[in-house]
């Protein structure tokens, strides 16, 4: 069964046929808008993942302690363990968090 519908008369509509300005337009155009990437908190750490450089391989071992010895590095966590199979290049192996 077809539903009958007609748009409201133009003078009764507050949206149809009017130009609407983007509410955050000015904030974005002047750089004031904060994206997730723009958040700078006090003592914020930056995390980076290390992706596997090979497309298909097996992890023999992961040695994390040397990374922790680099100044500024707070945490280095292996996401795989020895014996794990890697199925694609870029599969995350280790994630490291460090001071900026």
């Amino acid at each position: 069964m077809a539903v009958e519908y007609s748009w409201p008369a133009k003078e009764k509509s507050h949206a149809i046929g009017t130009r609407v300005k983007r509410v955050d337009g000015m904030a974005k155009a002047t750089g004031a808008a904060k994206y997730t990437y723009d958040v700078n908190l006090k003592d914020q750490l930056i995390a980076k993942g290390l992706g596997c450089p090979h497309a298909a391989c097996t992890i023999k071992s992961i040695d994390v302690p040397p990374a922790l010895k680099i100044s500024g590095v707070v945490e280095a966590k292996p996401l795989k363990k020895s014996g794990d199979k890697i199925d694609f290049q870029g599969d995350l192996i280790v994630i490291v968090a460090a001071e900026t």
Binding site: K21, R22, N40, T100
Partner: protein, 201 residues
């Protein structure tokens, strides 16, 4: 800065390939690095900087101190120390134009410039353009969607119109070809720039 390439004499019996094979990439890189550093130091007026230093940057008419290493880019100093996040990290080679700022009125890519290079220069970021007609024209022409590339475009339009205040549509298209927008707002960006031209800004 001058571009430098190392060429080896093909008749010396010592090819580049043999050289690299013999010394390994690490040794080769170290040699090149030493050569470059030495060559640059010899250049007139060149200084070799190392370690963390406090420098003064003049940003948006204010002298501000930042702590930088020689490798710190201008974008990193602006974003992470002065919290001027209008300058966006999109590419690492200046191809997106999202990190455009003005240095002495000329557009530069803050992500391919070292912070130390901008000492003594007058920098203007998009945050310093709040009273400029360009952002207003962007809002009126709806020249944005997600807005991530917009600050780069705003600075780009300002810089281009500074050099060509009566630019035509075609000239604006060419002048802004260093900025990329994935949302595809180009048509309205051009309209925004034309609004500024017509407004006599």
């Amino acid at each position: 800065m001058a571009q430098r390439t190392t060429t080896l004499d093909p008749h010396s019996g010592f090819s580049r390939r043999d050289f690299l094979r013999g010394s390994g990439p690490v040794a080769a890189a170290a040699t090149l690095h030493e050569q470059t550093t030495a060559a640059l130091a010899q250049e007139k007026g060149a200084k070799v900087a190392s370690g963390t230093q406090t420098i003064t940057l003049n940003v948006n008419d204010k002298d501000q101190q930042v702590k930088v290493e020689p490798r710190t880019t201008l974008m990193e100093a602006l974003r992470y120390q002065l919290d001027l996040t209008g300058c966006k990290p999109v590419c690492t080679d200046g191809s997106s134009g999202a990190a455009t700022v003005l240095e002495d009125g000329k557009p530069i890519q803050a992500n391919t410039r070292l912070a130390m290079q901008s000492v003594g220069k007058k920098l203007t970021t998009v945050e310093g353009m709040a009273n400029d007609p360009v952002p207003k024209a962007f809002v009126e022409a709806d020249a944005q969607q997600c807005g991530f590339c917009t600050p780069g475009f705003v600075v780009g339009v300002r810089a281009f119109l500074n050099s060509k205040p009566k630019a035509t549509e075609e000239e604006i298209r060419k002048g802004l070809n260093g900025n990329l927008c994935r949302c595809g707002t180009y048509a309205n960006v051009i309209q925004a720039a034309l609004k500024v031209v017509k407004g006599g800004a």
